[in-house]
């Protein structure tokens, strides 16, 4: 049986970070849900904070330093992505968007994505749906219908007493595990050396099209 590869991207800026904590919880429940389906999974955790300089250098130079390159390559081979960002000034963190801007536009095609976000109050929770979701649909990824938002209060007594954070994490992880189980990564995406259109085809277009 093959092992599913899940990349978990967290763009919290502090250490320790509640964003990472949410990412860990989403990964844990995903592992549990997959195990219940008889599916093995390995998780690769990516802290964008550690890659902040690499990300800036890539934006400036057009190529990725080795550590960042390895992460971008692993996205092209992943069976699922858990993406978690803090919400700053009504949207995903700038670091998060800078990272997404560097992903090969084909690398996430059809890829199941579980969206998560953290913020000071529940009033920001829709940012998952108006900011994060369009980002991933633009990349032709498949974001799960449940996105998990954790406000500061969710970590203590101020959380939702009816549908608690653990409930929401479990629901998102369940949808995600189902999609990852079904997803078949047949081709590695984002190989920059793939010759999509050999010369004969390109020249043939001159006469033929």
């Amino acid at each position: 049986m093959t092992t599913k590869r899940i990349v978990v991207v967290s763009s919290g800026l502090s250490t320790p970070s509640s964003t990472r904590q949410l990412a860990d919880r989403l990964a844990d429940d995903t592992a549990t849900e997959l195990r219940e389906r008889g599916v093995e999974a390995e998780f690769q955790f990516v802290e964008l904070r550690d890659l902040a300089h690499d990300i800036a250098n890539h934006l400036l130079l057009g190529f990725a330093p080795p550590k960042l390159e390895a992460v971008l390559e692993s996205l092209g081979r992943a069976d699922g992505l858990i993406a978690v960002t803090p919400i700053f000034t009504t949207s995903y963190a700038g670091l998060f968007k800078s990272f997404v801007d560097l992903i090969d536009p084909d690398a996430l095609t059809d890829l199941p994505v579980l969206l998560g976000a953290t913020g000071g109050t529940p009033r920001h929770s829709l940012a998952i749906d108006y900011a994060m979701r369009p980002l991933f649909t633009y990349l032709h990824a498949v974001p799960m219908t449940t996105g998990v938002f954790a406000a500061t209060g969710d970590w203590g007594t101020g959380g939702d007493g009816v549908r608690s954070l653990p409930d929401r994490i479990r629901r998102g992880a369940s949808e995600f595990a189902e999609a990852v189980d079904r997803f078949d990564r047949t081709a590695v995406h984002g190989d920059p050396f793939a010759l999509d259109r050999p010369m004969g085809h390109l020249l043939g277009g001159l006469a033929g099209e």
Binding site: H53, F193, L195, R197, L202, L203, L206
Partner: protein
Amino acid sequence: MQFGIFSVSDITEDPTTGVTPSEAERIRAITTIAKHAEEVGLDVFALGEHHNPPFFSSSPTTTLAYIAGQTERLQLTTATTLITTNDPVKIAEDFAMLQHVSGGRTDLMLGRGNTGPVYPWFGKDIRQGLPLAVENYELLHRLWREDVVDWEGRFRTPLQGFTSTPRPLDDVPPFVWHGSIRTPEVADQAAYYGDGFFANHIFWPASHTQRMIALYRQRFEHYGHGTAAQAIVGLGGQVFMGKTSQAAKDAFRPYFDNAPVYGHGPTMEEFTEQTPLTVGSHQEVIDKTLGFREYVGDYQRQLFLVDHAGLPLKTVLEQLDHLGEILPALRAGFAEGRPADVPDAPTHASLVAAKYGDAEPRQPRPRANRGDNVTGGSPYQDTSAKPAEPVGRSGSAFGPAATRTEAVR
């Protein structure tokens, strides 16, 4: 193996003095730089093409023609000539002309150009960059090989009975390199025609350059121009030398930290680790440069970027002196263990020899003008008035492709 320099023609403030040269000063300097390159024993001078400040080189063949008049040996080329936004007819004419006035010391490197607005300024769409490069080069290739061309494509006004003048020197087109940082289709295009492939190299990790050159070599063999090892490869490089390693680093750091392309990004040490940049002693530059062979194989042309980022003319000339001093070691190092069947970069002399052997090269003489400015049959006295058959389209000066009679293109 050829060694030389390439200039992007930037006019940049010297971060150590705050002085920006005038266009006139920088343009005068480029001739001085090219002449000194010849004096220190370098083989090649290459000039970029830009159509916006802070660059001066909008008209490379004008500059190169003047340099040709001031030098005797230097091979003059471009880095790069924009095959997307220039009219291929004008490229054919300009470079044939440069070939004549330089006595055959001309080749050229084609690139697509990455300055977005240049495309609309010249009436083109950047999203069509690759199809433009493909179609325009196919036309350019024919214009240099067929006296009379009928042409219809997607991008350019059709041509009927058109003759590009002057015909190339000795009726042998200039050798063409295709330059690219990251587009595998361009490596394939170079391979298809048996042309050279030049990897910019300096803005990319070595592992990527390695894969791109490997792709070009494999496709070169696939298209029947010779073995993969015989493909014609050029590499960019970037060096700054000093008496000691530390002196070089101290002198170059302010230029690195403020350079237009990579300034305010990675540290000089990170960039040195990840790209071919070498800032240091003679021996460090020799060692790193000779190391390029280990991942691209034996190759034909090494160009260094030395006159950018606001470095003053005096410093650039000193850097050329350094290059001249390490040149014997580089030549000896690259010659060591180089297989006999790996060709040198084609020159006009080698291309003439490949086409004519011991016979006299063709020297086209026009017929009298018929008064309609359209060529119709043959415009030249040595060919019949019927349209000429395409000849010698393989574009290869060596290996099996050079002697093949049927065109494989």
